[in-house]
């Protein structure tokens, strides 16, 4: 694989993948916070 293709792949898949995965984790954790709210545990 030539350097240009490699760099483009790393930027698109690497950067894009990091944003998508962390964004997805953020959404999932927001959902888990709603399912298991802190107030319920205090009660």
């Amino acid at each position: 694989m030539d350097n240009w293709t490699f760099a483009a792949t790393m930027i698109v898949v690497g950067m894009g993948g990091t944003v998508v995965v962390l964004g997805g984790l953020g959404l999932l954790m927001s959902l888990l916070k709603r399912i298991f709210p802190a107030q319920d545990e205090k009660r």
């Binding site: 898949v13 927001s30 916070k33």
Partner: protein
Amino acid sequence: MFDAIINGLSGLGAGLLHMHWSNPVMIVIGGVLLYLGIKKDVEPLLLVPIGFGAILVNIPLADLMGDEGFLRTIYNMGVANELFPLLIFIGIGSMTDFGPLLANPKIFLLGAAGQFGIFLTIALALLAGFSQLDAVAIGVIGACDGPTAIYVTSKYAPHLLGPVSVAAYSYMSLVPVIQPPIMKWLTTEQERQIDMNAFPTTPPSKTTKLLFPIVVTVIGGLIAPKGLPLLGTIMLGNLMKESGVVSRLTKASENEIANAVTLFLGISIGATMDGRMFLTPQTLMILAFGFIAICLDTVCGVLFGKIMNAFTGGKINPLIGAAGISAYPMAARVVQKEGQKYNPYNYLLMHAVGANTGGQVGSVMAAAIMLSVLQGIGLI
């Protein structure tokens, strides 16, 4: 008899006679690292063993990195097989509270933006003529995360381990110097004054904090299996901390294990700094690219903070984007300090800590994704 005395004396001076010009230079560099660690308190836990390791390995004929040398034994024991960085990660996980991040999970995105420098630096290193795997090792300095940089470099570009590790740890400690001018340059005074005290956050429940390391491990591992050792160890440490039922293991991970491994890791890294291999134009380029990587991380983090600010109707102070790197808790402290310069009543610290811990997950996730991409394209 006279000959024997002469031969004996020549044996005593053999070290001096075999000295290459680069050895005394490296001994001085080792001394500078010791000075920074001891006198200036710059990452002393690492710079002291690294500096001393650099001095040891540059004394000729001692052969400490030879097949039977004790530094080679330590290196093979935990650096060549990537064990030491992973053990350090268990300690980091057990020391990190992801509560501020889970209080506002949107901030995860800042932890992703803070890793963009890794990928952009890979492209720049390729332009400068480095091979693809060397460029990956150089780019990973932008993770601002020593163990991740060491893990990736020792596996895929072990000949660059010395300069990459020194760059990673040096720039991490220089975050308070590198970041503020970039933060000021990219934001308006009005943006820097944004008060986040009223920004809605809800603390996570104990169950959510317990589920977090398991969810990150399973999802991250399924998406980027090549990085599972990194993800799995940091999350194991965090699960042990949050569970509260294995306090002996948690304490051992964050104290005894982390301390012993830090010593071995430091001295092993120092041992890779043999002058003949270290003092090359390539090393200077790696140090320069490491600096660029951390600047780009900060630029991308702050710009992403500005985008989030626009999407939330001006509720997010873009300065917290600079904390989306892994240098914890230094980057968060820098954000708090800079924010208070422009609005003394603004307390950005908890939001910045959230972004900073997001950066810790982000750096590991970015490295994991990068390794899986490399595997996908058949480079590793």
